[in-house]
Amino acid sequence: MTRIFTASATALLASLTAANAQTEIQWWHAMGGELGAKLEEIVQGFNDSQDEYTVVPSYKGTYPETMTAAIAAFRANEQPAIVQVFEVGTGTMMAAEGAIVPVYQLMEEQEQNFDPSAYLSAVVGYYTDTDGNMLSMPFNSSTPILYYNKDVFEKAGLDPEQPPETWAQMEEFSKQIMESGAAECGFTTGWVSWIQTENFSAWHNQPIGTEQNGFGGPSARLTLNGPAQVQHWGNLKRLADEGVFKYGGPVGGDNAPPMFYTQECAMIMNSSASRAGVLANATDFEVGFGMLPYYEDIEGAPQNSIIGGATLWVLSGRPDEEYKAAAEFFTYLSSPEVQADWASFSGYLPITEAAGEEMASFFEENPGADTGLRQITLNEPTENSKGLRFGNYVQIRGIIDEEFEAMLSGSKTAQEALDSLVERGNAQLEEFEAQSQ
């Protein structure tokens, strides 16, 4: 009896030491559904590739929910080592000195082979500080592109292989489609804030705010009421009144994709990461891909589009060995094979040059899948097209939607709406600046 007890106690002890030898780190993420399953598969791949570390992914809901959960956990000293934060949370995370471990610093301290120049500048530019240091690890980055219905184009007598390149063509094609009865409306869009305001500005090499779009520090203010933006919003309002453009709702524009799937609208501008979803839903017609349209009369267009999506931030205050695990995991994540696998599955952009090359055969087999990649690398990013970094940006995104809606309902002109956007947005930025001092 005693012997059995001793034996089992030893076994128990052995299993405990075995468990202790492995460092476990938490990764909180916001990838549900198929993306979540793929993410877990990637993590499993890392866990199986070595026996020192175990990454435990947990799904925490939407992007805002995941970020809120991580912040609340940090306040309670229960934070995960890695958290996935969407791009608009970047300003908040960056300002939280002392709460985060910058990725470049983590990789340096853990002596990981890490070469920032291997990453696509349009992707990492968004997440570097003014000295070019990478603060977070890009994971899922996407950029908006144009999807169009080839069947409708053909019915309307247009060339189905020729998407519109300029806004003038956008209007011309749409009207031809509507007049021929091939579709009820010309186009719709997801994300008015991200696509028709931020990306629009970058694509036309127009500033979004001062201080290099906020990269320079929290004293930056918005300048979205420039002539180019006023021209574009005014144009969208006119097209909405003519029925050419249909609005799909605030934030991501939930109602926009169904309008495209049901062939009510011939074109949609949406994230390159919606590719899989679009193909799965467009069962009755052929989908074509194009770059975002631009205005020929605005100098500097087309420049390059900017990204959206999320990156991985490392939170401070965890035991040392967890950082070793995190650094090891990041190296695995940015390897060309893992990146290419994830990018071709999801439609997100590959984040390194090597991963892009790895995907060459995939791009050949899937024409149009590289549209996003070609678009962000069209030109070397300028100060205006590197991205943006403002605090309280979740609220500012909400203000953009509200002012756009106010313009659509006719209570404000494009100029008034954008002026009020800048005024309200700047109040948020002042508040943020005060908070971070």
Binding site: N392, E402, S409, E431
Partner: protein, 293 residues
């Protein structure tokens, strides 16, 4: 004479009260105190830097057009939900009260919506009213009416009012039915013999005698509309378009949890707390005296 138990031991009553006191302290007083404290601070999201700013968060609220708008929206919303849901349930209750056969079956059927979780109810209405895929906008279009609550603020308000009121009808209905059954039939019979018609009988006898129930339900409904409709708003309009349905509770959530502005969110919840206290005092001290029981 009330019977009184005298404890010889001073400790025992406190001991017996302790569990309840602990719960009250942990779940009500402590968070409320935290909200009050938070409302005087300006803090970054992670709570690394915080400054004591006295009433600045409150001052900002009174200067904020969005907050004043939110108060107005809340008043319109609460009154509309209360009137609509109580009016309809009273109508249904009177109808059931007059039904001789299968009143029980109707009652059971009418109570069903109460079992639906608010978030689920919100999603159901979202589907029905969805401008692109919903059945209702499709039907309305046949009559030449364009329903698009994504851009039309009035339609958005109508949607959240309907969805919230629908959810509350069952509850009101049950209380009204119970209230109606408590009114002695002899009173109405006497009035009928005196020649009063059904409408007259309702307004001179039934409705006044229902006033305790009506009053109680009014309190419950206003509190419901102000505080428990969060899920409905979140799953249908998310406060939009352009803040047209952004009621105060939703704004507390959005500014605090989505926007990470704890100071402003704290100040807003303190104001809400004071509104609840004021409402309770007014209703029980002042209105209740005027209600005949």
């Amino acid at each position: 004479m009330m019977k009184r138990t005298i404890f010889s031991n001073q400790l025992l009553p406190w001991l017996l009260l302790a569990p309840q006191l602990a719960i009250t302290f942990i779940f009500f007083i402590w968070p409320a105190a935290q909200a009050v404290w938070q409302s005087f601070l300006r803090e970054d999201a992670f709570g690394i830097r915080s400054t004591f700013v006295w009433f600045e968060n409150y001052e900002r609220l009174w200067q904020s057009a969005e907050y004043l708008n939110s108060i107005q929206v809340t008043v319109v919303f609460a009154v509309a939900v209360t009137v609509l849901s109580m009016g309809l349930s009273l109508l249904l209750a009177v109808a059931v009260d007059r039904t001789i056969r299968s009143a029980r079956a109707y009652t059971t059927l009418l109570v069903w919506p109460y079992a639906v979780a608010p978030a689920v109810a919100g999603i159901l209405w979202w589907f029905i009213f969805n401008p692109t895929i919903g059945i209702l906008p499709y039907v309305l279009e046949q009559f030449g009416y364009d329903w698009n609550h994504i851009t039309n603020p009035d339609q958005a308000m109508a949607l959240v009012v309907i969805a919230s009121a629908w959810k509350q009808i069952s509850y009101n209905f049950l209380f009204f039915v119970a209230g109606l059954q408590a009114i002695p039939g002899s009173l109405r019979e006497a009035a009928a013999i005196d020649g009063a018609g059904p409408v007259k009988r309702f307004f001179t006898i039934t409705f006044p005698l229902l006033s305790p129930t009506t009053f109680f339900l009014m309190v419950v409904n206003i509190v419901y509309a102000m505080f428990e409709t969060f899920a409905v708003i979140d799953s249908t309009t998310e406060g939009g378009p352009a803040q047209a349905t952004n009621i105060m509770v939703y704004k507390v959530y959005f500014d605090g949890f989505v926007g990470q502005n704890m100071g402003s969110s704290g100040a807003q919840s303190v104001i809400l707390m004071m509104i609840v206290i004021a409402l309770t005092v007014i209703q029980f001290r002042w209105i209740e005296k005027k209600v005949e029981y």
